[in-house]
Structures are given as C-alpha cells and as structure tokens.
Subunit: 327 residues, 2 copies
C-alpha cells in the first residue's frame, strides 16, 4: 500500500471544498443532461460488469468478478456497449461509473482515481468532426451553466470567470498529434512521436493555452481497437482528445469507431486481444453495428477543471486511490 | 445456467418496447432529480466497491473483487455510505447502481435482476413518517411528470391514465405488518407473522389495492442491522415498504436508521455480522453519525410500474438475470 494523501472519509465528506465541489458537479451533470437531451440524445443506464470490457491502451487493468461461475469484468469503460446499442439508440449517452486498477505508484499524481465517471456519448453515422462538435458544445454549455447557477461557489473556490472567457468565446483550436509532437520537441521536450502525449508534454501544452483545444490523429498503437484507423493516413487514428487550458490536461477522449467486422478482428489481433473473448461483440459487429463517433468526458476531471481544485480525489465524494485501502 | 427468457442483446436493444421503456425511465429519473433537488437534496455519485456493503436480509450475495490485495465487495446497496455522508450532506440522494447475486432459480420470476438501480435517499434528523412523506411525494411527482411528458408512449404500451388517478389523488394508505399478516391469514394465505411478506402475499395485497400503500413495522429478523428497532415495540423495526397497486409489488424499502454505536454493534451481532468487518463504518458511528431516515426506490421496478411491462428485464437496457451468462 502506498502513502495516501487522503484524509479519513468522515473528514473528507465534511470539508467545505467537498461540499462546493459536489454542488458544482451536480450543476455540471444537470447541464450535460439538459444539453444532450436538447440535441436529441437518449440517456441509458450502462452495465457495470460483463464478459469483456474496454481493454484500453494505457495499462490500467479491470477487476474480475465471478458471475455464476463465469469470469466477468467490471467496466473500465462501456464503449463496446455504446456501439452495440446504436441500432436501437442512434444518439445515446451514459453517465457511466468505471473502475480502472492503475499502478499503485500513481496514487500521488492527483490525476488518477480507481473509481471515476464518464459522460459517455456516441452518435451513429457521425464523423470525428461531428463528435468534436458535440464535445465542444457540451463543455461550453456546462461552463456557461455552472457560472450562471453557482457563481458564488466558484468564486469561493478561487475561480475567476475571466479564465473561462476565451473558452466561452470559442471555437476551440485544433492541432494534429504530429504538430503537437513537433512543437514539444522544438522546445526541448523529448516527446515520443509514436505514442500518447506524455503527462509532462500535455501539461506544457495545457499551461500554454488560453482555451481548451483538440489534439487529433493519435498513432494507432496508443488507443483501443475500436478507434478507426484513418484510411487517408495509415497508422493514424481518426480520434481526438480535448485538452483543458490552465494545466488541467485531458478532459475528453473520443474517436470515429471501426464498424467493419473483419477490420475489427484484425485490429484486435494487432493490439494483442484475443477475438474469442469478444464473442457477443463480434456477433453484433457481424450483424451490423452502425458506423459512429463518440467520446467520454471525465466527470471528475471536468469538476476539477471547473472548481480549480488540485487533485481528483478532492472532487470525488468517495475517492479511491490506486493501491490505497480506504472505504 | 438456467433457461433464459432473454432475447439476444441486439434484439432486446432494438425492440420497440425497450425504446419506450427507456423514454419513460429517462423522464422518471429527470422528474425524481427535479423533485428531490426542489426539496433541497444534493445528489452524489455513490461508490461501486468497498471493504463492506449492505449485508441485506434476503439472502442475495455480493460479488467480491481484489482491490490491491484486499477483498472488497461490489455494492449491494450503498446504505452505509449514505449514513456516513449525512454530516456533510444532511439531505442526499444517489441514483445508485447495485449488484446482487440472487439464486439462479429466480431467473424466471420477472422480479429479479442481478444489476439494478435505486433512487437512494437519506435525510438527517428525519423520522420514519418524514421519509414516507418524501417517498410518497417522489412517486406522485414522477407519475404526474411522465404522464405529462410522454403520454403517447405510456398509451402505446397499453397503460391507462385512469389506473393512476387514485395514486395522484393521494394520500397513500398505511397498514402495519401485523395487520397485513392478519389480513392475509384471514383469507387463507399462510403468511409467516415473523418474516417478510412473501411474494404471493405481496401480490395478493398489491392486486387488491387501488393506489400504492405503505406496510410499516417489519419484524427485526427480516431486515439489516441499520434499520432502527422501535423503542415502543421491541422486535419491530421503524421501517416501511411502499407497495404498488395493480400487482406490481414493492417499489420502495425504507426506515429510520440506528445511529447509536453500541446498539449498532449489538444489532450486527444479532444478525450474524462480524463487527470487525465494518471498521470504518463503526469508527464513523463512534464519532457520531446523525440519526436519519431514508429509503431506496428501485428504478427498474418503478419503470415497470409506469410502463406496465411484465418483467424487470424488459425495462433494463442491459439486463442480467440470475445464473444466466449474457453480455
């Protein structure tokens, strides 16, 4: 077990900043629901466990459970279920609870929680640009709403409305992964051109920006098999992250999705996944999953960005840190 | 594995009745949130796993997970966390996902899902009557709202507004567990006077009623250690169920809670629970958990009642039946 920065739960739950963060989070989720419903989205309650979950691309593991003698996993994300639901619900979202077992040494980063939530959005027939548009309008609407609903809470937390002015003025900038890497390397940051933007690099970019911005086209190895490869740029994905300004880093990850059965199987094999594990999902893909694009916006990351609090555990009512045994 | 009444997931998700049920559920949850927030409640996102969970009183089991070498459980309900949060959040609610491993032979009842959700409400300083008042106003508000928001969906499902007229006229009737048992026995139903009202008995009472009604004062052995024993009627709990009319059965279970440290330990021992397992909760109780009352309203049971559909799996997007291996 690691050294924990967490206070005891009773102390955390009675802290003034926790009450403030929960007020902001409640308003943010209401605004998100209102906005997505106004765009014609249907909210569903996502599954918690299943025979497979998102294998992801960043090394976090899923928790196993014994479902009547079958080894099931708690959802690290419900992406596969989003895709499989599009025929019945072409514009859908979840407020999805997820569990990811991160390495214990990440407990002190302030950026890792084992339990967290995502506003998980998917749109049948949409392109990457369409999903980016929804993410941008969603963030803008949420920021606008919380400043109308609980301005005194944000001010008490030390937030300044001015630091959101550029965000509200929009539109958000876009940079390709290729150009972001080149920019980082030009200022002496040794960013790997074939991988995720590392945290130091992301923080650098995030601090330099005046408003959130998109990074597009991450390399294939860095993300899950469901992110669609760009037919015009093999090796690049038609995906995106949305990075907050002010040093708060990634708020959203999204992509166009791969919907072609044979390509999904190939991508699974390339990323080291055994297609046999994904029987129900591949059956659905063979019967026809619509092409789509979508994203997940981290609820705790969003709340941290809105409140300006330092660590993700400060904006979770029941925080669980990697490797730290707490309630 | 049992015989499953479930269609394949792709078929379920494209069924007309599933789309209708999800529309109704979305409106019901919006109405619940609006109503509870108008009463001054704060919504929190509940924990999914922890060192202990609600041991319940009905034989369903929790799923174990390995949390960095510690044996944690998925929440069967987050009741203990609700209580522990009251000092910071005196009126709080969750829309809580829960997992209960029910016996495989319950797969065909139409009343059991392994994954389900509760509108989980708790009020510091409230009495049983106070919690019953919140449950009654919540159900009334939800019914009123869905009939305003999606009347054509309810009508298409075969629901008749007239069958909710008595509910909307209120107030709900109340009967003690003692009198409910006596009534059932007088019509020849062999109800055990010292236990839960069994399903056949509950169904009988539910069919006879014209509007939802409360049953109060269940015997001590039938519920968890956190339901407060009635000081005026030892052996009886200061708890309640809210039973829907029309054969839909229980929608809500609630109670005044035990807040006295020594009494909690005694009640744990009486119900066969090892107090050592509940270290963090007992520490919180020793430091002072406020007296409270609250309840859980089953989201899928509520949606079934609103839509009139037969089985709980029809009103869950991703149904999991006891003993049935499905996505």
């Amino acid at each position: 077990m690691s050294e924990s920065p967490l206070p005891p739960l009773a102390e955390h739950l009675t802290a003034r900043s926790t009450a403030a963060a929960m007020r902001v989070q409640q308003e943010a989720l209401q605004a998100a629901r209102d906005h997505l419903r106004s765009l014609g989205f249907q909210e569903l309650l996502p599954p918690l466990i299943g025979p497979v979950t998102d294998p992801g691309g960043r090394g976090a593991k899923a928790l196993d459970v014994d479902f009547y003698g079958h080894r099931y996993k708690m959802m690290t994300s419900a992406i596969l279920y989003k895709q499989a639901s599009l025929r019945g619900f072409p514009k859908l979202f979840y407020i999805a609870p997820n569990v990811r077992v991160e390495p214990a040494e990440t407990a002190g980063t302030g950026r890792h929680l084992v339990e967290f939530h995502q506003i998980d959005v998917e749109v049948a027939g949409a392109t990457r640009a369409g999903a980016m548009g929804v993410a941008e309008s969603l963030l803008t609407h949420v920021v606008d709403h919380v400043w109308r609903a609980v301005p005194e809470t944000l001010t008490e937390l030390g937030r300044d409305r001015e630091s959101f002015a550029e965000l509200l003025a929009g539109p958000f900038d876009q940079v390709t992964h290729h150009d972001a890497v080149a920019g980082l390397r030009s200022v002496g940051h040794d960013q790997n051109p074939d991988g995720e933007i590392d945290w130091a690099g992301e923080e650098l970019l995030s601090h330099k920006a005046e408003r959130p911005f998109f990074i597009t086209g991450y390399p294939k190895g860095s993300r899950g098999f469901y992110d669609r490869e760009d037919p015009d740029n093999p090796g690049q994905l038609r995906n995106f992250d949305l990075i907050a300004h002010g040093g708060f880093g990634e708020l959203v990850s999204g992509s166009e999705r791969e919907a072609d059965y044979a390509t999904i199987v190939t991508r699974m094999r390339e990323s080291g996944e055994n297609p046999a594990k994904y029987a129900w999902y591949l059956r659905a893909a063979r019967e026809g999953i619509p092409g789509s694009a979508g994203f997940g916006m981290g609820v705790e990351r969003l709340t941290r960005f809105l409140t300006g609090l330092d660590a993700l555990w400060q904006v979770s009512a029941y925080p669980k840190l990697p490797g730290v045994a707490t309630p």
